[in-house]
């Protein structure tokens, strides 16, 4: 089976639209914005696109090259870039209606999203395009995916991806390898510099194909989902994960609780080697009218065995008991 079929399975369950395997999520976003500039939907580089607060620097930089990211809903907005944070869907019905009313384009930021069946609430299947990131959800070094649903955009992308500047992807891959390898060369200046042009690298490199295939054949999506549901079950007696959907395969599970508790939990987990901290999650799930609350995202990725998950659960449980005991 071709790798593109694997991508369709995990990123485009309905099979609608044209899917491209790209070098990074940034390089998936670039042709979408270029197309919008070409068609006049984004008249110039000062045309504003609504993005969520806390948008990651890499995507901000890639966007800023073509238009102007804004966190403010103004009359000069031309479009929105909806982020399904940690893989939990924004209120797409409401957002899409608002976009239609105001003639705004809608792009979906699905970098934390993967599917194990039909898309929940139209996530990844509502905007004119959706952008995915492979390394966030799989064990690949680089890689992104673009699902282009608008026919004109799809035609433009088909042409765009025929060309490539492969040295850029190789450079990004090298930097990423240095970061993740046993050498652990983690230099913000170096990596920020290299990643600043990664959006120009277009096509994916074959090296990631084997990694993606191994992950998919090893049921990475199923294991991620199982870890997430395991967390929900274990903490069904505590409102840590209140209102979170069960039909998603998230990047991480945002744990909510009293600020003081989160302030104790995050450093404890970090000390134990878990890659987490205190972040803000939009509980309103509405880019136009967000409501950010503090959370500690708990990892659920496929590389965590049941015993590792149990160890994480034990730490959270113990900290919660300690917190309640002292109150």
């Amino acid at each position: 089976m071709a790798v593109i079929d694997d991508l369709i399975r995990v990123f485009s369950p309905s099979g609608e639209g044209q899917i491209h395997w790209t070098s990074t999520a940034r390089s998936a976003l670039r042709p979408v914005l270029l197309h919008l500039r070409r068609t006049g939907a984004l008249p110039d580089e000062n045309s504003e696109v609504l993005v969520p607060r806390w948008v990651c620097t890499a995507l901000y930089n890639a966007t800023q090259k073509i238009c102007f990211p804004s966190t403010q809903d103004t009359s000069s907005l031309r479009g929105v870039f909806v982020y399904h944070q940690y893989g939990f869907p924004q209120k797409l019905d409401r957002i899409a209606q608002r976009c239609r009313d105001r003639k705004l384009f809608l792009i979906e930021n699905c970098v934390n999203t993967v599917f194990d069946g039909p898309s929940p609430q139209g996530m990844g299947e509502t905007g004119l395009a959706s952008v995915f990131s492979l390394p966030k959800m799989f064990n690949t070094v680089l890689g992104g995916a673009l699902v282009a649903r608008d026919p004109e955009l799809a035609a433009f992308c088909a042409e765009y991806f025929r060309d490539d500047e492969p040295w850029i992807s190789r450079l990004s891959r090298g930097a990423r390898w240095l970061h993740d390898s046993p050498l652990q060369i983690r230099s913000t200046p170096f990596h920020e510099t290299v990643y600043s042009i990664s959006d120009y690298g277009r096509g994916a490199r074959p090296a990631d194909e084997a990694l993606l295939r191994a992950d998919i054949e090893g049921d990475a999506v199923g294991r991620r989902k199982a870890n997430y549901l395991h967390l929900l079950r274990e903490f069904s007696d505590v409102p840590f994960f209140k209102d979170l959907e069960t039909d998603v395969v998230p990047f991480a599970a945002p744990l909510f609780g009293p600020e003081e508790f989160l302030g104790r939990l995050a450093p404890r987990l970090a000390f134990e080697g878990w890659d987490t901290g205190i972040y803000r999650f939009d509980v309103a799930r509405d880019l136009f009218d967000p409501h950010f609350v503090s959370c500690v995202p708990l990892p659920v990725h496929q590389n965590l065995t049941t015993s590792r998950m149990d160890s994480l659960i034990y730490s959270v449980r113990q900290e919660w008991r300690s917190f309640n005991g002292q109150r």
Binding site: N61, P189, E192
Partner: protein, 338 residues
């Protein structure tokens, strides 16, 4: 003597800048901290504002003008969120003295005071300008300068601040900057310039240039960038600019918008404004055919970032590589289409 060209620097000038030489140093003021570039200076000052809590987090808004290079916004992003509208969440304003022509600093100071906003002066195009007799770069918390806009150094910038805490913070970051990235940034900018001038604007040259821009805020200062202005071949660059600007004003006496600009400014380029956009486009196209770097841009005629009024303009170049008869030919083009 061959005149210098800031877009095509000579290795001999850069090497000469490394040699000790008597003469006025551009950055001799105690208020000034030399840095790798204007972008590095801006990033360091915003880092200071983040360190003292004016910029609370990455979402704290920084009011900026539109139309800057994306790399300028990217240099701001690690410290705050660039915004085009002066909403109540704005904490810092970057006041850009476009092309060397001052913003209305009295009005801006009043607005900032009313809104409790800290402002920084972006003097990338205003090396020696003044506002009502006061030097640009001295009214806000800090002034940010870019040497490579005026001298063939490729890199180099400075932060001017009366507040010693700002200078110490900037100086600390400058000293911790990477030598390797500094040299890399210079090297690729140099290579990109050569590639651009000799083999056309290839995509590799453009990408290398972008890498250099991204590396800039993390790079240390390179010594020659501050001394390039003392090299005999380039020492008169600023005087040549003033002469060229004065010549445009003398040869276009009937052009009201040009005559309304400050006569004593030291411009990066001269913004030729006119209500007829089609005429401006024809001028720009003809000048580009003459291998001049120009185009249609927007100039803030209101000179107020809080209440701007952008009008189209064509860049008329004034740098030292532009000799007098070329100015006359450019004026001929302007007169033909206006």
């Amino acid at each position: 003597m061959m005149r210098c060209d800031i877009r095509n620097p000579r290795a001999a000038d850069l090497i000469a800048a490394l040699l000790p030489r008597e003469g006025p140093s551009l950055w001799s003021s105690p208020d000034i901290v030399p840095v790798h570039s204007g972008k590095a200076g801006l990033s360091h000052v915003l880092s200071y504002l983040r360190s003292i809590g004016i910029l609370e987090n990455k979402n704290s808004k920084i009011l900026t003008p539109p139309g800057l290079g994306y790399w300028v916004y990217n240099a701001m992003r690690p410290h705050g969120f660039p915004a085009l509208h002066a909403d109540p969440e704005v904490k810092v304003a970057v006041v850009y003295h476009q092309y060397g022509f001052s913003q209305d600093l009295d009005a801006i100071k009043d607005e900032c005071s009313r809104r409790k906003i800290v402002f920084i002066e972006d003097c990338a195009h205003a090396l020696e300008g003044a506002y009502k007799g006061r030097p640009l770069g001295t009214e806000g918390l800090a002034g940010i300068y870019s040497l490579s806009k005026f001298y063939p150094s490729q890199i180099g910038g400075a932060v001017r601040a009366a507040d010693s805490a700002v200078r110490e913070h900037v100086s600390r970051l400058e000293k911790s900057g990477s030598v390797a990235l500094g040299l890399f940034s210079f090297g690729v900018k140099w290579a990109a310039t050569r590639g651009s001038s000799e083999r056309g604007d290839s995509s590799v040259a453009r990408r290398l240039n972008e890498l250099a821009y991204a590396a800039s805020p993390y790079s240390c200062r390179l010594r020659w960038s501050g001394r390039i202005c003392t090299v005999p071949n380039v020492r008169d660059e600023l005087a040549a600019r003033r002469r060229n600007y004065a010549l445009y004003r003398r040869l276009l006496p009937e052009h009201d918008e040009l005559q309304a600009l400050e006569h004593d400014a030291l411009p990066y380029v001269v913004p030729l404004m006119h209500p007829r956009r089609d005429a401006l486009e024809k001028i720009a196209a003809t000048l580009r055919e003459m291998a001049l770097d120009t185009g249609i841009y927007s100039f803030d005629a209101a000179r107020n970032i809080f209440n701007p009024r952008y009008v189209p303009c064509v860049w008329l170049p004034v740098h030292g590589g532009i000799v007098e008869d070329l100015v006359e030919r450019i004026v001929g083009v302007v007169k033909k289409w206006l």
